[in-house]
Structure formats: structure tokens, C-alpha cells
Point group: C2
Chain length 231, copies 2
């Protein structure tokens, strides 16, 4: 029985977004595993409730349901040990936990205010209303106000990428000569942004831009082929 | 021939500081290697010039001189492969490069303005003058002004530790159940601060505080035994 992956989509089922689902997509590709995509929308909580989650990604592997992108990565590493390693050993797995938090805080968290106002336009009315209500409660203001100064505030986001930028001076990927899960942790959010927003997060002469290009090319251009803005 | 390590000191030779030298000290202890300490002061450039460096740490291993804490860690991992691993595999080594930059930018860089004004008091006059001149040029103002608002600006430093703080929710060390070089990358700066400054960088109920305590206890309390403030 093939793997199945609940993935966040909006009105276009061929346009999966969510930084976390993209981490899992890249991890599956890294392991050389196919997964049937099950499109899922913000308000379809009941579709994943049987799998004990209210968020995606949720991976179904035969009788096993696994929720949360980090938990899925660890599951895939353990369940498919003969496939290429996502972590490159125990040290990488342990450090990967912190890379994942850095990715959540600095990358997802830093990017979210910059692209948030572009998201409702990709959603059906019921999902757009849900998204706007829950996220405006979180930020305490309208989405358009959150994103208003993004031409300026993008500078702080770019600066926060310095640890990645400096790493790329001596190696093409966080994983070294080839990407590993640490790269997908950071790339997932960039792919999310690319799918939903025309906003330019990176300057073209930024080494992080070139790194993102390499990951767009990975796995026969899987991420690049997915519908998105050319940014 | 035993290993030798040039370490930064001030007026008290028994009080080595420098975040980078402490990374190396912890790495040597992790590998179970002894090293003879060679005290070195900021203005003693000629003492290390033959080893093609103008900064410490510089490690001497028989005929081999290795400068820069990251380069030393990689050297030790390769030269002493039968000793406990610093990186836990190739993935950890590759991700460690980015952890090192995160440590330099967020931890050393975030901490420096907070403790900088306390450093000259630990230095001989010639070194204090050198330190003040070079660092005031870097910050563009007197050291005392750099540190002036530290009771307030420490909050930003603490927030920047969120990726570590969140990681510690599920594991006691960045390296997992035991510390590895990623822990020493971040601990080195904390030990530097502890040696030179009475300023309290961490709240006592912070999980990062408890993590630092665990590393102060590591290797039979090596770092705790070194003279420092009780902060």
C-alpha cells in the first residue's frame, strides 16, 4: 500500500503550500518514496481527526498515522533505514531538532508577516475566513497591516539568515556536499512563500538565493515544477 | 609529546577566557585529551605568528599547528577517530558548521555588548588599551556606552536563544542525551561571560540556565572549577 500524505491546499489542489508539508515532501523524495497526495484544507479538521491531529502534514503508512513534520522525518529515518539518510547519523538527528526550531522561529516566523496578506487570495471563502480570523487574532491586527511595511521589514528577515548565509561560504548545503533534512527544514518555508506570494524574499545576489535555486532543482526539479511565483 | 593550547588570558593566567578557546577546551575534554595550556594575551601576536595565526585558540599537536576553534574541532575529530565523536557522524559535522555560525552570530554576537565593559578590568594595561581601542572602533562608541542599556537589551539576547530553549523541551543537550560539539559551540560563549562578567545573562528558571549548569558539571566540573563569577 503506498504512502499517503495529507497536504494543505487552497482553491488549487495542484498547488500545495504549508512550510511543514513541503519539508515532508522533500524528505519523502530524499528517501526515494512515493506518496499519494490527499488535498486538505484548513477547515477540514474532521478528515484528519481519526489520525489524532488537527494539523497537517499527516502521513499514512499502511496502518500507521504520523503527524508533525519533525515526527514524520524521524519516522521515515527509522522505518526506511536502507534509504538515503535524512540526518547522516545520530549527531545530525540530535542537532536537527535544534535546526528545526531555528527553522520554525527564524525562517517560518520571520517570513510569515511578509507573505501573510497574500495567502487568503489562494483560499476558498470558508478557509479564507478561518485563516483571517485565527491569524489576525494572533497578530492583533488586520493581515494587510501585518504586511504593510514588508519592503522595509524584509531586511531584518534577511539578516536573520546570516548563519545559513555564512555556512554557504564553505559548503553548498547545510547537509554538506549534498542536502539533508536540515536543508529541507529551511527550504520548506521558502517553497511555501513561493507558492503563495509574489513578494521577493531574497536578493538575487544572495548566496541563500543560489542555495534555494539548487533545492528547486533537486529531485528532478520537483519543487520548481509545483505551481508558484517566479521569485 | 602532549598537545599544547594557546589560550587567551588577562592578568590572571589561571582564568582563561575567550568563547572560542573554551569551545576547544571542552572539545579536548570530550575526546579525553590533555593539553598543556600556554597563556596568551591580546598583544602577544608574535608568539603565535610562527603558527600562521593572529588569534587564539591555536592547538599544537606535535609538528602540526591548527588555528581557529572550528578547524581545531574538525582536526580533532579526524586525528582521533577512536575517541568519542564530537559530531556523531557526517550529518552532525555538516550541520555543526551552521550551528557554529549561529553560535558566533546569535550567542557570541548577542552576548558581547552585554559583557564587553567588564573585560578591560581583567587585562593588563597594555592589553586593556588594545582591547578598548579595537573594540570601540568596531562599535563606534565607548565600551561603557555599548553596555549601558544591558538590563534592557539582555531581553533581546534571551529571545534569540529560543531555538535552543525549545530544543531543550525534548532533549537535555543539543547533542541529544549527551553533549556533543554543538553544545560546546554555545557553551563556550557562556563560559567566557562567566569568567569575565558578573552580569546575569540568564534567568534562573530558564531551561538554558539548567542546560548551562549541566555543562558546568561536565568532565568532572572542569568549567565550574575555572575561576569565574557565580552567575
Amino acid at each position: 500500500m503506498p504512502l499517503k500524505l495529507f497536504e494543505l491546499v487552497g482553491t488549487d489542489e495542484a498547488r500545495p503550500f504549508s512550510p511543514f508539508c513541503w519539508r515532508t515532501r522533500m524528505a519523502l523524495a530524499h528517501k526515494g518514496l512515493d506518496a499519494e497526495s490527499i488535498p486538505w484544507r484548513f477547515t477540514e479538521k474532521e478528515a484528519i481527526a481519526p489520525h489524532k491531529s488537527d494539523k497537517v502534514p499527516v502521513l499514512l503508512d499502511d496502518e500507521t498515522a504520523v503527524a508533525d513534520s519533525w515526527t514524520i522525518a524521524v519516522y521515515l529515518e527509522d522505518a526506511y533505514p536502507d534509504r538515503p539518510s535524512l540526518f547522516g547519523g545520530e549527531g545530525g538527528r540530535a542537532m536537527g531538532r535544534m535546526m528545526n526550531w531555528w527553522g520554525d522561529v527564524a525562517v517560518v516566523g520571520g517570513m510569515f508577516p511578509l507573505i501573510i496578506a497574500d495567502i487568503p487570495g489562494h483560499l476558498a471563502p470558508v478557509d479564507a475566513a478561518y485563516f483571517r480570523k485565527t491569524r489576525e487574532a494572533r497578530f492583533g491586527k488586520p493581515l494587510e497591516q501585518v504586511a504593510a511595511a514588508r519592503d522595509k521589514s524584509v531586511e531584518g528577515f534577511r539578516r536573520a539568515l546570516d548563519p545559513l548565509r555564512l555556512t554557504l561560504k564553505s559548503q553548498p548545503f547545510i547537509g554538506g556536499t549534498r542536502p539533508n533534512y536540515a536543508d529541507y527544514i529551511v527550504f520548506g518555508p521558502f517553497q511555501w512563500a513561493r507558492v503563495v506570494s509574489p513578494f521577493q524574499l531574497l536578493a538575487e545576489d544572495d548566496p541563500v538565493y543560489a542555495w534555494r535555486e539548487r533545492l528547486l532543482d533537486a529531485f528532478d526539479g520537483m519543487a520548481r515544477k509545483s505551481p508558484g511565483y517566479q521569485v
